[in-house]
């Protein structure tokens, strides 16, 4: 109750300010308006002040302090009202800038804080937080309605809080896949609270750190969902290329957070090693096993998703093509299906490719055909993202928890990838051979990880491992009494998590730095060579090719052409060459140097 006073006064002040812009009041002149509003504010505030006074008086039983107390609370309210009003700077400016709102929000909060500290030695933190939060929402709502100040020519409209929350949720609910992930997010959050409470009560580092990790996991999932919503919004005047980059950025952010979280866990484990504390294992086991179950459900969801996308695509088959040349037959069977290639040796999966190789999957919404060879070694499953000859992903080779990622895109109409996942160099050569053999338009695009989902997935995976670790250490503690097992497991797991995140980090950083896509390096060189060999082309300069998101490649090029030749023809030829190389979106500037 006492918290409400400054809150109310601030709110009133703000409202008065924004309503002071209304024209009838303006005729009164600014000063008079302020005086009037001040008087009104004081009167209004007087009521709660007297109420609180009566409450405090009811607690005490002297009369001598009554007048002093009453006067004091009144003075307080007036003081705060005036102070808050005085903060409105620049009477002449009718336009309310965003800075002002922030400033008065801060001032209100600060005043509340000081007041509380003075009066109540026990800071009721939740009440304070709640108050601050409400104030923030109120300020935002009022602010966004009074900020009509937008640039000429810009089509950006400020959204209110409500619509900002509603749109993503609508979008998420509209698709089955994202709905599942949202559901999993909900489960995760509730379980996280359970784990937190249990961890605090039993003072186990493993549980607390696992709960913390679950927290980040939920945050990562939420970021992932939000990013997948945002990346579908169309291009506008602020984002000329669209917002597809959000996914890459969110993948990068997830990776950075994972690294930081892992490092933090290592630090805390070392702390625990040096300063071992007592852990009660009674409820520990149940809770940690529960956590493991939740995580496994999450993993299953992630898998089911792309499995369903797989099945829903219709003619989704797994052609087991063992040699490259046979894939010709696949070429013309073009269904608009999303054949996602994946391979895993996960036990719950139907497709058990233990020794069989090469799944081909493709189809492109633009009806291009991709060749995709996937070779799989015995126990490892790897996917996508092959750089040179190195293995880049999926480096968690542990027990039977293999996961491979699928280049999962949430868009139904989107390509899923194609690329060469070759673990042996010989097959790479075959692939290229095939490119030349077939001679038709082939986009030997690299398989593209959906960074977004990759990041979220890695978080979930790390979480699972954390749970497994906690279970193991709990068992060890219970049955063997090795207290050191707890931190040791945590260290081990976080090291593994960090090492699995590094490829994602590197890949997304490369995209963000506008590096030439690794898959295109070779083909691009050839294409450029071809272009320089076109008749009439003097030179090529300013070749910039980069990934906009995992799947879109953008390029710009300057061609220097002699003036006697037909520029259009040369440009068309160059365009064709680039598109064959895989760069769909290319802008060519043709110059005739004299």
């Amino acid at each position: 109750m006492p918290i409400l006073l400054p809150f109310l006064s601030g709110f009133l002040g703000f409202y008065e300010r924004s309503s002071g812009n209304a024209s009838p009041l303006r005729q009164l002149g600014k000063k008079r308006t302020r005086l009037a509003s001040l008087a009104i504010t004081t009167v209004i505030l007087f009521i709660p002040a007297s109420i609180s006074f009566f409450i405090t008086v009811g607690g005490k039983n002297e009369n001598s302090v009554s007048a002093w107390d009453m006067g004091w609370s009144l003075v307080n309210t007036v003081l705060f009202g005036v102070v808050l009003n005085e903060n409105f700077s620049g009477d002449d400016k009718v336009v309310f800038r965003g800075k002002d709102i922030n400033r008065e929000f801060l001032v209100t909060l600060f005043c509340t804080l000081v007041w509380e500290l003075v009066y109540l030695p026990n800071l009721s933190l939740p009440g304070f937080m709640l108050c601050g939060f409400l104030l923030w929402i109120a300020v935002w709502e009022l602010g966004s309605s009074s900020l009509h100040y937008s640039e000429i020519g810009s089509l950006v409209h400020s959204e209110s809080l409500y619509s900002m929350i509603r749109n993503p949720i609508q979008h998420i609910m509209s698709e089955k896949k994202t709905r599942k992930i949202a559901f999993f997010l909900l489960i995760n959050t509730t379980y996280m609270f359970v784990e937190f409470v249990a961890g605090f009560m039993s003072n186990s580092l493993g549980l607390i750190s696992d709960a913390c990790h679950m927290l980040f996991d939920c945050a990562a999932l939420a970021i992932g969902l939000y990013a997948s919503y945002i990346s579908r919004l169309p291009a506008n005047s602020q984002f000329n290329y669209g917002r597809g980059r959000f996914e890459v950025l969110s993948g990068y952010a997830n990776a950075v957070f994972l690294v930081l979280v892992g490092a933090m866990i290592v630090v805390e484990s070392m702390e625990r090693i040096l300063d071992p504390q007592e852990i009660s294992t009674s409820s520990l086991l149940a809770v940690s096993i529960g956590g493991l179950l939740v995580n496994i459900i999450g993993l299953v969801f992630f898998h089911e998703e792309h499995h369903h996308a797989h099945g829903a695509g219709g003619s989704c088959t797994h052609p087991h093509i063992h040699s490259c040349s046979n894939s010709h037959s696949k070429l013309n069977s073009n269904a608009n299906s999303h054949l996602i290639s994946h391979s895993h040796s996960h036990v719950t999966h139907v497709h058990d490719h233990n020794n069989e190789h090469s799944l081909d999957c493709h189809s492109h919404s633009n009806h291009h055909h991709h060749h995709h060879h996937h070779h799989e070694k015995q126990n490892d499953s790897c996917d996508h993202h092959k750089k040179g000859d190195r293995h880049s992903h999926c480096s968690i080779h542990k027990g039977n928890d293999h996961h491979c990622n699928h280049e999962e895109h949430y868009r139904h109409d989107h390509i899923n990838h194609a690329g060469d996942h070759n673990h042996e160099n010989s097959s790479k050569h075959n692939h290229e051979h095939q490119n030349l053999l077939v001679g038709m338009k082939e986009d030997s695009k690299h398989s593209h990880i959906d960074h977004n989902m990759e990041g979220s997935f890695l978080q979930v995976l790390a979480d699972t491992l954390g749970s497994v670790g906690v279970v193991i250490s709990t068992l060890l503690i219970k049955y063997k009494g090795w207290l050191i097992a707890d931190p040791a497991c945590s260290i081990f797991i976080s090291v593994m998590i960090i090492s699995s995140v590094i490829p994602l980090l590197r890949n997304s950083a490369e995209i963000l730095l506008h590096r030439i896509p690794r898959s295109l390096e070779q083909t691009l060189k050839e294409a450029i060579g071809d272009i320089t060999r076109i008749e009439g082309v003097h030179g090529v300069s300013g070749v910039h090719v980069w990934n906009f998101s995992n799947t879109e490649i953008v390029g710009t090029v300057h061609l220097h052409v002699s003036s006697e030749h037909d520029k259009d023809l040369i440009k068309k030829r160059a365009l064709d060459l680039f598109q064959q190389a895989g760069v769909k979106d290319i802008i060519i500037q043709v110059e005739c140097p004299r």
Binding site: L513, H514, I587
Partner: protein, 394 residues
């Protein structure tokens, strides 16, 4: 350098090729005056280290006319300053990482050297703390040492970005390495947000657990930390504001470093304040202080996060008002020979270097050269130096 059209701010640009760039000192002033941003806007008056020398990153790769032996490989390097490090296989070995670092420290700009100094100071502090903590068995010191090490790790990344950004563009990175600075700034901002979040969790922890185990020795380390960080803020004092208009690539990086150090000092100050308040007898002071610090760090890091995120997300250049862009577009469409503009996209590589690509439809008889030149001129006034225009005839 082949491109002789790099000129001083006062010379008009020559039109030999369309890759000319006006000096950086010239362009932002003209449009800022044209579009009404007052000169008294303090956010635009930035740094003492800002120099008016023409800053011309030649990031293109030019392929020679005569293809050699059938392979027209792009020649990446103009000057082989940093050795011929051909990273075609893509692995940056440790040596490649460390060598530019030392080069930059020795020959680099003042800020890089200051950063290196601060970094070494931090490392020394954390080692001392670690050793003392191990010897005396105080856990708090060890964890503090580790936290310091994280900060150092991040600062090392920033330093690395600073040094690496001097490299010219090579085959794989066609735009050069300047964007690494923006990435480093973004990572720093992420780390700050993470720190704010973890401080909030700690505050919650302190609030719930209610154990006021008062570690006195931590105050000494907090004070030392505070002093070191304040020294760092002093080094980077020209960047010590929350909202800065970014002019060059290294602005962002240095700003992020400054904010990082500032946030660290706020945290140490918060710890000291918490222990003082605890001694005064106010309960929950620790939770309160940590909560305040976390909110402060969050708010400090948010503008940097937004700005660097905007650049990484290919947003339109922040220093060009969108009304100016649309005005230019209208001017292009109003040209006689142009029937329509099909595609116009702009983005920022690093703050201050904007790149755009247009695709326009030109009437049949029009002279392509003249149209190209005119369009380039129009956008040049805006500050967009790299423009690629594709003229279609249908």
């Amino acid at each position: 350098m082949v491109d002789t059209s790099d000129s001083f701010p006062t010379c008009p640009p020559k039109h030999e090729s369309f890759n000319h760039r006006m000096a950086d000192g010239g362009s932002p002033r003209t449009w800022s005056r044209v579009y009404g941003i007052e000169d008294g806007d303090r956010r635009f008056s930035v740094l003492r280290t800002y120099s008016f020398k023409p800053d011309l990153p030649r990031s293109d790769s030019y392929i020679s006319i005569i293809p050699l032996e059938g392979e027209g490989l792009p020649k990446g390097h103009r000057k082989a300053d940093f050795g011929r490090e051909q990273n075609t296989s893509g692995t940056l070995s440790v040596l490649h990482l460390v060598v530019p670092l030392f080069k930059a420290i020795r020959s680099g700009n003042r800020l890089a050297r200051k950063l290196a100094l601060m970094l070494s100071l931090n490392v020394a502090c954390s080692t001392v703390e670690l050793v003392i903590g191990l010897l005396t068995g105080r856990v708090g010191l060890i964890s503090d040492a580790f936290h310091l090490t994280f900060g150092c790790g991040l600062l090392t990344f920033s330093l690395f970005a600073m040094s690496l950004s001097q490299k010219k563009s090579d085959e794989a990175y066609t735009y050069g390495y300047k964007r690494l600075e923006v990435l480093a700034a973004f990572t720093n901002a992420l780390f700050l947000l993470f720190m704010a979040f973890s401080l909030a969790v700690e505050a919650l922890h302190a609030f719930i657990q209610d154990e006021s185990e008062h570690k006195h020795y931590l105050i000494v380390s907090a004070v030392t930390n505070l002093l070191v960080n304040l020294l760092g803020v002093w080094f980077f004092r020209s960047y010590a504001r929350i909202n800065i208009a970014y002019r060059k690539a290294e602005d962002m990086n240095c700003h992020s470093v400054c904010l990082h150090v500032l946030a660290d000092s706020i945290r140490s100050a918060g710890l000291v304040l918490a222990s003082w308040l605890l001694s005064l007898g106010i309960e929950n002071a620790e939770a309160l202080c940590l909560g305040l610090v976390s909110a402060a760090v969050f708010m400090v890091a948010l503008p940097l996060f937004r700005a660097s995120g905007g650049i990484l997300l290919q947003k339109v250049p922040a220093n060009v008002p969108s009304s100016a862009l649309s005005k230019c577009l209208r001017q292009v469409t109003a040209l006689d020979e142009v029937s329509e503009v099909t595609l116009a996209r702009f983005w920022e590589l690093v703050p201050g270097h904007s790149i755009g690509s247009l695709s326009i439809v030109v009437k049949e008889e029009a002279n392509d050269e003249a149209v190209l030149r005119r369009v380039h001129e129009l956008y040049h006034d805006l500050g967009i130096q790299d423009l690629t225009v594709q003229t279609n005839h249908f």
